[in-house]
Amino acid sequence: MTSKSIAELEEMARKCRIEICKMTHRAQAGHPGGSLSEIDILAALYGGRLNVNPDDPDWSDRDRFILSKGHASPGMYAVLAEAGFISKDDLKSYRVKGGVCQGHVDMKWCPGVDFSAGSLGMGLSFGMGCAVAAKLEGSERTIFVMVGDGEIQEGSVWEAAMASAHHELGNLKLFVDCNRIQNDDFCENQMRMFDIPAKWRSFGWAVKEIDGHNMEEIVSSIEWMDSITGKPSVVIANTVKGKGVSFMEDNPGFHGAAPNDEQLDIALRELGVEV
């Protein structure tokens, strides 16, 4: 895939945001908030960094991207459509019987999806398995994983964190989408996680913090990850849940709720669509 400029990646993310709003509105269900918080990072990855081929999605030596927060599937589907793995028309199948866009991302249903997620705390372990496999093969391919900040409350994440560092998996790269909101409320009220970067550092990971909506910072953080060898690396991305749509931003109400007709109009206008 050819690399895009910062402005092009920002434009790609804007288009994805529009599709996220349309998909959840059409389905009257789904998770727009976490899709909008993650989407700038997904655009940066699929806009050029990932060595993947939409014409051969199962190519065995491709890079992997494992979206562990599988409920934020509208973001994944939107970026896969932008990257050419699925069609814009496929996006209409989100949460529809027989559609490739299942409610939670599913590798058996959707071309370009590398992991069947939906239950939190599983993607990093799966990514570790993919990273071990790449190492055994002597392949240079890279395994990227994304988890949510609420997700790291799952204990199994820390089993994977410890094991990946123990096995010195430099080919394993993690994004934590820190949008500070989980299903029921702000993380701060549900389960305080204290110093998240310090936790990863103490588990033996290389750690960097960024603004997860600043495309230049995202791109340079990926370059930083690529420079890390001998240990897994994690980028703690500080994001805003619902980013780009005023009434969804920082609003726990839009973790798992769809916009109504009127809200969709407002959202699309804010995203630069003439309604």
Partner: protein, 312 residues
């Protein structure tokens, strides 16, 4: 006296034999010495992944390896596999990834470690998962053969092995072992005993006792609980008109449950189930546990007499 060996030893030997396949990898959760994957680890440390004491992670590391073209064999105690049940369900069974999970030290026969270590529900829970093959062989030879058939399976599996030595039945009969096919160890037509694991041996002892009483029973080793060999079950339901199941497992949901669920829709016959009667175990020797749980050969004899009395 036949050779004595533990089924877990058959598993360990099979892994070593499978090492010729460069795609075979072994995952451990700090119990390789007990599950017997240690032999593979010693010979092939480069293809052995220590997951520490972290079963949930281990199952999904296996899924990632399987999705990348490897054939992972993960093992721990049967009871600790249960902690990773949802990983097995969502991360392995749902995407149908060929991860092969072995739970050793299954059943109350595990003995003095007590109830926390005696898995009596593993066969039942894994049997509920689509795509997953569930096995519980009775001797080290059949365990070895079944394990060596797994790389060609192309789907996930769960195999329970046992801690303690039991008589070896299949030396010289290796070609009779096939995943999904029950084995008639002794034929008979008054009743059919379907057994798995340690209870196969109790069933064979029961058959001898019954013979002296003039009752001729068939004993069938159902080393594969899922997919169930339904042809064989139907054949013996028709032939014998009475069925007894025997397993070192809860009477809820295991081999007995599987056979009852099947024949109720095909050829219902009087049936008795030998198994752990919805209770937990405790610390005792293996033999004491079987006696306490009602799993000895004399319990099977009584069940056979009772079920034959119900034949009309």
């Amino acid at each position: 006296m036949s050779r004595m060996a533990a089924t877990r030893d058959g598993y360990g030997e099979a892994l070593l034999d499978l090492a010729d396949n460069p795609k075979v990898v072994v995952l451990e959760a700090d119990l390789g010495k007990s599950t017997k994957s240690l032999h593979f680890r010693k010979a092939h440390p480069d293809r052995t992944v220590s997951c520490g004491i972290g079963e949930q992670n281990m199952l999904l590391v296996g899924a990632g390896l399987a999705a990348s073209g490897y054939i992972p064999f993960a093992s721990t105690f049967a009871i600790f596999t249960e902690r990773a049940f949802e990983q097995m369900r969502n991360g392995v069974a749902r995407p149908n990834l060929p991860v092969h999970l072995c739970g050793s030290h299954g059943g109350t026969h595990t003995g003095t470690d007590g109830s926390s270590a005696q898995s009596i529900e593993d066969l039942a829970i894994y049997r509920t998962l689509p795509n997953v093959v569930v096995m519980h062989p009775c001797d080290d030879t059949s365990t070895k053969i079944l394990t060596k058939q797994l790389p060609d399976l192309g789907k996930p599996s769960y195999m329970r092995t046992a801690r303690n030595k039991t008589p070896v039945l299949y030396d010289g009969r290796e070609n009779e072992i096939q995943i999904g096919k029950g084995v008639v160890l002794k034929d008979g037509d008054d009743a059919a005993i379907f057994a798995c694991g340690v209870l196969v041996h109790e069933a064979m002892d029961a058959a001898l006792d019954l013979k002296s009483k003039g009752i001729d029973v068939a004993v069938i080793d159902m080393h594969t609980i899922k997919p169930l060999d339904t042809d064989l079950v139907d054949e013996y339901a028709k032939k014998c008109g009475a069925i007894i199941t025997a397993e070192d497992h809860s009477i809820i949901g295991g081999l007995g449950g599987a056979i009852a669920e099947h024949i109720v829709g095909t050829h219902p016959v009087p049936m008795e189930r030998i198994g752990v009667k919805d209770r937990f175990g405790e610390s005792a020797s293996s033999e004491e546990m079987l006696e306490m749980m009602g799993l000895k050969s004399h319990h099977i004899v009584s069940a056979v007499e009772s079920v034959i009395a119900r034949k009309s």
